[in-house]
Amino acid sequence: MKRIEAIALAARAAEEQNALLISNIGYPSRELYSVCDRPENFYMLGSMGMASSIGLGLALARPERRVIVLDGDGSVLMNLGTLATIALYGPKNYLLVILDNCSYGSTGSQPTCTCYCTDLAAVARAAGVGMVKEANDPQSLAPALKGQGVVVTKVEAGNAPVPIIDLEPEEMIKRFIQSALPAEPS
């Protein structure tokens, strides 16, 4: 499966679940923006490694709202402690999707350790995450996107030819926060 196909599935799931979607730095955010832009998408433009943590803080702050994070193997390896924190504190409205293309895809596809020896699903389990799924095709990914915990999805290396995101950071966060607000009591 190409990464952009997995991202499109996740975007559709987020839309159906009215979920807030945090997307990792680099090409994954650009691919998400090109397949399905929503105000409920937060596109990371910096702070590599922080996607899973931003999503966890958000999910804990808003327990009634579904939060999905799209992260990468390189970024999770940069913030591996996040898996231990998710194991202990991850709420049921939180799902971390690790799109593992075994490479630093936005910087020239240099291999990560998952290319050779590191199994991030096993790392997540060993960190204590109770719900860890591996979903490497669209048929298994679609149902996994309804769950909680961590999903690891192997995707092909390479980036789709998509443009950069033409939203300013201020605009991006403003519309995200507005769409994340609790519904007005009726």
């Binding site: 945090i22 937060f42 990371m44 433009l45 910096g46 702070s47 590599m48 490694g49 922080m50 996607a51 899973s52 943590s53 931003i54 999503g55 966890l56 803080g57 958000l58 999910a59 804990l60 702050a61 808003r62 709202r65 913030n79 402690g81 996040t82 231990a84 924190t85 504190y89 950071p169 201020e170 991006m172 966060i173 995200f176 926060i177 994340a180 607000l181 609790p182």
Partner: protein
């Protein structure tokens, strides 16, 4: 009032309701107060940078976040402070135990102790260095500045601060 209680009262007065932390021995009493408060979500983080991410997400979800850490951890979170909080305009209150200054017995604390204020100045992060009796007021003022300017603000608590009765 104990130095820890003064900071805690500042957090409560500021309406802080989400705390991420990496411990320092000088923060232990404050961490206990925070953990026992039913109105504060407290997340011990594995690394200070992770705490910056957690706090950013909590703010995006409507919470008022603070990060409790030692100044050694400031070095671990610079990229996230710059390319997450400053880039998007996300406020963060940082309560920092400032080690490696006058009276520090551990030599390993000294390099970051000396670099802490220059790093904050370089990043244009406003900071307060409260003395005896000023802890509560400094915390409140620091959060108000973070919120108004939509960026991180710091309260540095040096070794002298904790010695005050």
């Amino acid at each position: 009032m104990s130095p820890s209680l003064a900071i805690f009262r500042g957090l409560k007065h500021a309406g802080i309701d989400f705390v991420a932390s990496v411990p320092c021995v000088n923060l232990q009493d404050l961490l206990t107060l925070v953990s026992e408060d039913p109105d504060i979500i407290h997340l011990p983080a594995t690394r200070e940078e992770e705490g910056v991410g957690l706090c950013a997400g909590a703010w995006m979800g409507g919470r008022r976040p603070a990060l409790l850490m030692q100044n050694s951890g400031l070095g671990n979170c610079i990229n996230a402070l710059a390319s997450l909080d400053m880039l998007y305009g996300i406020p963060l209150l940082m309560i920092i135990s400032h080690r490696g200054v006058a009276g520090e017995p551990i030599v390993g604390q000294v390099p970051m102790g000396r670099l802490t204020v220059p790093l904050l100045k370089t990043m244009e992060i406003p900071y307060q260095n409260p003395a005896s009796g000023e802890g509560e007021r400094a915390v409140l003022a620091s959060w108000e500045e973070a919120q108004k300017r939509r960026r991180p603000a710091a309260v540095l608590l040096d070794l002298n601060y904790w010695r005050q009765a």
